[in-house]
Amino acid sequence: MPDNKQNSLQVASPEKEAATFEPRIVAFFCTWCTYLAADLAGTSRFKYAPNVRVVRVMCSGRVDPQFVLDAFAHGADGVLIGGCHPGDCHYQEGNYKALRRYRLLSRMLQSLGIEEQRFRLEWISASEADHLRSAVNDMVENVRALGPLHLQPSEEMFPEEVAV
């Protein structure tokens, strides 16, 4: 029998964890609008929550639902997708595709026990740095209130009491 795996599972007490919890948000931003808004927020020296890890994509329509699930599976507490306003897509239809996928994926995530506020789609144009700031801050606060996701049905859940 290997070393006692259960020791590695001893996480901080819920109270302690709640006090130190910083949400990890993975954000997929369209290169033509939301990413430029983030750029503008930076050059304008706007302050907003530092909890967002931004991944630049060519279009919100490029965000495969697998990316979102992968982020959650690897420890993200929330996922934010930012795209161009309806009608403004650089590729004509990409953001509508993102919208349709988002509506369906959001349903599916809720059936799998992931709260609605953890997954969000925002239309933010290149000039809307302020909107970006408020969307990010708002999401971080919502996720902070929900607490850590704690998703993994980790290997530790299968105690190795099976000796062969």
Binding site: Q6, L69, R101, M157
Partner: protein, 331 residues
Amino acid sequence: MAEKPKVAFYWCASCGGCEEAVVDLAEALLDVVAAVDIVFWPVALDFKRKDVEALPDSAVLATFINGAIRNTEEEEMAHLLRRKSKLLLAFGSCSQLGGIPGLANLFDRESILQGVYKESPSTVNEEGTFPRLHWSENGRTVDLPGFYETVRTLDQVVDVDYYIPGCPPAPRIIQAALQTLLSGELPPKGTVLAPDHALCEECVRRNTKPENLSITQFKRPHEVFIDEEKCLLAQGLLCMGPATLAGCDAPCIQGNMPCTGCCGPTSRVRDQGARILSSLATLVDSKDETEIDNILDTIPDPVGTFYRYSLPSSFLRRKKMESPKVTAISR
């Protein structure tokens, strides 16, 4: 006469359909039996676990395991057979992807046991009897396998060499896989032994699939008269063909029913449910949020539909547990 290669079959959390699929090889099964020596096959032959334990390690050329892993006995047998075999193959959807039993990952152990032993309408259990790991009576003790919180695929438990997809695998796929193994020219480890393209590519109805497909309402098979010639997606039926591996000869499509996705994804896809979700959502014929929602309302159970066979092998693997805890096997 040279010794024939040894082969073993085993079943875990499955329905028995995979065993049927082997028998469905019909006359071809005789050729298999002539070419190999079956050393273990609980459904058909009277070998016991101790016979397997008595074999030297790696003595078996290939072991075919069907069924997902959801209790301690299955896990033990998977480890034992892995040790005794040169090649271990996951046979069928349950063992490859989690399969139908994998949908139990939408619940936890306690609610499953409550449902089965207490709450279901056909259950009469006035004394509140639940399965126990150990039970002693009149000086004798009996043991039962422990039941896990989460269903796993075979490769989440032991190293797996190849996969034979399908629920159950089609005779054509099984035969091709056996020939590959006996030929000695083995494909790279981890290969799914089936053609690596989507079912749509070899679908008999593919020419009726419109260039620009759009859907205003998803329909379930009992709600419509299904045209026997036309692409099922074009009729609004939720067909998993675009995200599912080919090679099954499409018996469902030929039976005028949509594909449910049992053969799993192609090698380029990690999460089958996410891919079909992506593909179908895009086809929704609206740009308005409310209208999109109304159309999506016609998919009553997205998880059960898109992950019908693959929930345990998906990114998320299961519904989030309310309070993650170390599984105490005993009740």
